[in-house]
Amino acid sequence: MEVLKVNGLTKTYGSLTAVNNLTFSLKRGEVYGILGPNGSGKTTTLAMLSEAIHPSSGNFLWFGENSGLNQRSKLGIMLEKPNFYDYLSAKDNLKIIADIRGVDYSEIDIVLKRIGLFERCNSRFKTYSLGMKQRLAIGAAVLGDPQVLILDEPTNGLDPEGIAEVRDLIRKMAGEEKTILLASHLLDEVQKVCTQMIVLKKGNIIYDGSVNVKANNEIIIELMAEDITALTEALKQSTDFTNFEHKKEMIFVKTAPNITTSNLNAYMQQHGILLSHLAYKKQSLEEDIFEILNEIR
């Protein structure tokens, strides 16, 4: 069942296109990542899906309906930085959230314990560290146990321990059949938490698919030889190795998975080239992504 369907979503500010023609969909129970560097349009996208900002064009459907209050009550959202009344305590701020959502106050303590703020829940928001503020924002999003979570950079400002806790929390909620849309500029985070992802670059989707599938497609073999010119000449003669790159002293050959290092070594010996370095390297997703980012740039 489709939870969210986004169709040609676009946001422009004057001549700047912050988000360009996004189309993707989210199925029930999916943990979807939006990956992209700062300023790539992640928050703008999530803010549009939360109805905080108006799209310039395009539309989206939550639960198959044009959005409205009914749909929004099923969403738990945190956007960018935590926004709370700084003269109120965590508890009072969550009471306001509970009032808006019509959630029973008894759930507040449960959430406070879950986000590790229970001991400090009566201190005013302004006395909190960035990490604590961030936790409260996550708490506000999960209060009332919404079916869908929209989390924008949820681990921002957290220490390593906090990051691990938040990721655990997200994975736990993913296990509870929740649909999660998570934006991050950290590939590692998206890979650890999500199953599907889109990669955003300057407001455009440049990748949409599994967080793993791309990594198995290509293999890179590193080559070095005394006579680098002869090496490149030899590579050019073969139709198997046309896709290669020359970086400093090393040559990186992209090949299909059926080519192995021994194939390559044998081929080079036929051409009388002695390799001084030969290594097989499975390309990591991170490199894939940076490559995609580079291609666009």
């Binding site: 803010a47 939360s50 109805e51 905080a52 900002i53 108006h54 209050l69 929004r72 009550s73 969403l75 959202i77 956007l79 930085k81 926004n83 709370f84 009344y85 700084d86 003269y87 109120l88 009072d92 009471k95 306001i96 959230i97 009032d99 808006i100 959502r101 019509g102 506000a140």
Partner: protein, 271 residues
């Protein structure tokens, strides 16, 4: 839904020290002014007579008598509503400062409910101000009036209703500016400059035609200066012992307009 919005607003206000401090300053300043007015009037009367400018008292000798006390104190209170408007501006701009408009929206309030919450704030502040004047009037009136005639006590209480409408209209104007401008300081500046400079010029220049129907001027004209010799002496045109229904209608129209503009600004804006 109304109850829910009121409850949420109360949560925000209850522990907001700045709000309570500003509200107290308004109440104290207003009561001190109302208490001190009598002696100022008596002294002015005496001075005028001693210097031979006027042979008769130009001002009423007792402003706390039923039923005129209601007109007198609401007329004085007219000049203090600016303090309440500052409170109103802070309530709205706080939501921008803490970016809680966005938080409320993504948590589940609609844009209309967000504006409606602030309209409720304005209503409650206006009501509180009217109740303060009611209490003050009842106490001072009982102390100074000889005898007790219920008809005299209630006869001019419609001035309290006019006061409520005037303050509410003015606060909606302040709310509208705050929603548009977002910043507290700038909103207060704009309100002061508009209310005390910008609008006064056309209001004075075109007082024969549309001058009296400018937004803040017409709201002020709900409660005009009490008819007293001093105001005749000063050639003050806007004095009347009655509340004219035309200004009630005009004030209602403007107040509705201010609320609608606030709503459309928030509906259209990215939060």
């Amino acid at each position: 839904m109304i109850k829910k919005l009121l409850k949420i607003e109360w949560r925000k206000i209850a522990k907001n020290k700045v709000f309570w401090l500003m509200l107290s300053i308004y109440f104290i300043a207003l009561i001190l002014a109302l208490l001190g007015l009598q002696s100022i009037i008596l002294k002015t009367n005496r001075n005028l007579q001693e210097t031979g400018i006027a042979s008769i008292p130009l001002l009423p000798t007792n402003i706390y008598l039923f039923p005129h006390i209601w007109h007198n104190i609401t007329f004085v209170a007219r000049f203090f509503k600016i303090f309440l408007a500052v409170v109103m501006i802070i309530l709205v701009t706080n939501e921008y400062t803490y970016n809680t408009l966005r938080q409320s929206l993504i948590t589940g309030l609609s844009r209309g409910q967000i504006v409606l919450s602030k309209i409720f704030d304005a209503l409650i502040l206006s009501l509180a101000s009217a109740i303060l004047l009611l209490a003050f009037g009842l106490i001072m009136g009982s102390v100074y009036s000889s005898g007790f005639d219920l008809w005299d006590v209630v006869r001019k209480m419609n001035f309290l209703a006019a006061h409520f409408l005037m303050v509410f209209g003015f606060l909606s104007f302040a709310m509208m500016i705050a929603f548009i401008v977002k910043k507290a300081g700038l909103s207060i500046m704009i309100l002061l400059v508009y209310a005390y400079i910008l609008e006064l010029i056309p209001a004075f220049k075109y007082s024969d035609s549309f001058g009296d129907f400018l937004p803040l001027r017409s709201i002020n004209l709900l409660i005009q200066a009490p008819n007293t010799p001093i105001f005749d002496f000063l050639h003050l045109s806007a004095q009347s012992n009655h509340i004219s229904s035309i200004y009630i209608v005009v004030a209602l129209v403007y107040t509705t307009l201010f609320c609608l503009v606030s709503y459309f600004v928030i509906r259209k804006r990215d939060l």
